[in-house]
């Protein structure tokens, strides 16, 4: 009797957790399916090659926003990833208790700062002194958001590298930096890279920090000029009352997700080819 009861509880709990797992995963698929359904109807060649039309006019594309997003996120990655990565290595490998816990705490706080506040920061520190909006200032805002994500992820995955590997390397006479560069980091590289990709994917979809930094542009914009970007375009298109703009907002959403996925896949392929991962 007790055995049967136990088996019943086991089955019930197992199926409950299964249902929860399905719900968690299906959220992603529902979003994807919705985007593909609504977005694919609106994606056409013009979307990738033309500049946006004036308010309320049908047609046009978002070529400048696609390039602008790549530009801004690319610059933000160049600024944010190295800083975040090295800070993460510091936290994991040179933990000196007091300062490290301060850094860790600050990074977590920064992670929780609303993105619009980061935008205000970049507006004050970059846009005001330069006296104009620019793709660069938007990249600074996104980099500020990227640094704490990469820092914490790098730290976490480095901590998962077994101590024995480090000790073995040091025992064979490697200096500490050599141990970090050739043993610890390669061993944790898959996780670290995943953390970086997650961070980049996260900032690629941010519109709030860009509203008054990268601003927006209906023409092509250089690095030092106001620039269109996909999230800001989606924001303005989606709150507008025009059907054609709603259509374009869906298309832009699909393009944004596709870009993030492509970057994700590309990075994983580079990793799979480039570095052999020793097993712990």
């Amino acid at each position: 009797m007790r055995l049967r009861w136990r088996k019943f509880v086991n089955a019930a709990m197992l199926s409950a957790s299964g249902v929860c797992a399905v719900i968690a995963v299906s959220a992603l698929f529902v979003i994807l399916a919705f985007l593909v359904y609504n977005g694919s109807k609106s994606l056409d060649w013009n979307f990738f090659t033309q500049l946006p039309k004036a308010t309320g006019e049908a047609g046009g594309g978002m070529a400048n926003a696609i390039v602008g997003s790549l530009e801004i996120v690319g610059m933000a990655s160049l600024m944010g990833i190295p800083i975040g990565f090295i800070a993460g290595v510091y936290l994991s490998e040179f933990d000196d208790k007091h300062f490290a816990s301060l850094v860790r705490y600050t990074a977590d706080l920064l992670n929780g700062v609303p993105s619009i506040i980061v935008g205000v920061l970049a507006w004050t520190l970059v846009v005001l002194p330069m006296r104009h909006f620019s793709a660069f200032s938007g990249a600074v805002a996104l980099a500020v958001m990227l640094i704490p994500i990469v820092t914490r992820q790098t730290e976490q995955f480095l901590r998962e590298v077994p101590m024995a590997l480090r000790e073995g390397s040091l025992a064979l006479g490697a200096s500490k930096w050599k141990m970090i560069a050739t043993v610890a980091v390669p061993a944790g590289s898959k996780g670290i890279l995943t953390g970086m990709i997650l961070g980049v994917a996260r900032i690629a979809g941010e519109s709030a920090p860009l509203l008054f930094t990268a601003f927006n542009n209906q023409f092509w914009g250089g690095i030092n000029e106001p620039s269109a970007s996909l999230p800001v375009m989606i924001y303005y298109r989606a709150i507008s009352p025009y059907d054609d703009w709603h259509r374009q907002a869906w298309a832009a959403g699909l393009a944004l997700i596709a870009l993030v996925l492509l970057a994700n896949i590309a990075a994983r392929m580079v990793l799979a080819r480039g570095i052999s991962v020793p097993r712990g």
């Binding site: 160049l78 846009v127 209906q218 492509l262 990075a267």
Partner: protein
């Protein structure tokens, strides 16, 4: 990482090819944004060397960015106050560009007729004193219309807005209570229960999606989205529909008595055909431009806008400027140095 540096290289290359163009950045009112973007696009096809990037962020935000010096010029539906002017590092000149109407647009299920709203009814709806569509004061002016017995969803702007300025300017003139309790500004603290939308586009979208709602937007936004809008009783006691002609009629008085700096209000004007919530909208151009190429491009555009550009007005539901005003602005052009 590699793929990103790649993208940056491509992007830099693309940026460089377009670098010869004279680029001007501007921001401000969403009220004239459709015609401004049309103008800047058209001017760019005529003069490929000039790119004017205009973003409708709201009049309030536009004026703030001009004060901060982050844009080359701003656009606003309200003239700057003396205090706002004193904060500018470089004095700005007001250039009226077009005229437009703020209309009361609504979404009442099963009511497709054109509503008539007297100005005190509009004020009391926004004061929160009239809360139902079936209120006797609304039905009295609209015989034959079957109103639902539902609460009115009152929609207003959340951002600092020239449209709000014009609307509250009108309400302050027609309702002493409004003037005392709320007053006239680009963003006010709304007395009743209201729902906020961002920009003219945002308010239009909200009205479109919300049954039993009413909101105030620029005429073109209502017309292009096929939303109905109300006929308003004007200061002379006539019911006037917002049209290009009735806006022009409202400006008729102002055209001759226009002050030298163009700062004037044309709400609640008397006149048989004058639509009472009409306004000029302005570009705020710095009087000194250090960059010679920018100066030339800006002046060139303004000249074109005041002449050929005015022909685009009607297709987007804006009223062209009176001749007298254009002549005065041409003189002001010489003051930009």
């Amino acid at each position: 990482m590699k793929s990103f540096s790649w993208a940056v290289c491509v992007a830099v290359g693309l940026g460089a090819t377009a670098a010869q163009a004279q680029k001007i950045n501007a921001a401000g009112a969403t009220f004239p944004a459709p015609i401004y973007q049309k103008w800047f696009g058209e001017y760019h096809t005529l003069h490929s060397g000039v790119e004017i990037n205009y973003q409708g962020v709201g009049s309030g935000a536009g004026v703030n960015q001009l004060t901060g010096g982050t844009v080359d010029f701003a656009a606003s539906d309200f003239p700057l106050t003396d205090e706002q002017i004193s904060k500018l590092k470089v004095k700005a000149l007001h250039f009226p560009t077009v005229m437009g109407a703020v209309v009361l647009t609504y979404n009442i299920p099963n009511v497709s007729t054109e509503l008539k709203l007297s100005s005190d009814v509009v004020a009391d709806i926004y004061l929160g004193k009239i809360t139902k569509w079936s209120d006797a004061r609304i039905t009295k002016d609209n015989p034959g219309v079957k109103f639902p017995n539902d609460d009115i969803v009152v929609i207003r702007r959340t951002d600092g807005s020239g449209t709000t300025f014009v609307f509250t300017d009108f309400l302050s003139k027609v309702s002493p209570e409004w003037k005392m309790k709320v007053g006239n500004s680009a963003s006010v603290s709304w007395p009743g229960q209201t729902l906020g939308g961002n920009g003219n586009a945002g308010v239009t979208g909200l009205v479109k999606q919300t049954p039993d709602s009413i909101g105030y937007v620029e005429l073109g936004y209502a017309r292009q989205n096929k939303l109905p809008y109300a006929t308003i009783k004007n200061a002379s006691g006539n019911w006037v529909k917002p049209t290009l002609d009735s806006v022009t009629a409202a400006a008729a008085g102002a055209a001759n008595t226009m002050p030298a700096d163009f700062r004037v209000s044309i709400t609640n004007e008397k006149g048989k055909d004058a639509y009472p919530i009409s306004t000029f909208t302005y570009m705020l151009i710095p009087a000194q431009l250090a960059d010679a190429a920018k100066l030339k491009a800006t002046k060139g555009f303004l000249q074109w806008m005041l002449t050929d550009g005015q022909k685009d007005c009607a297709s987007l539901d804006y009223a062209p400027l009176p001749k007298e005003v254009v002549a005065k602005e041409m003189k002001q052009l010489a003051l930009i140095k």
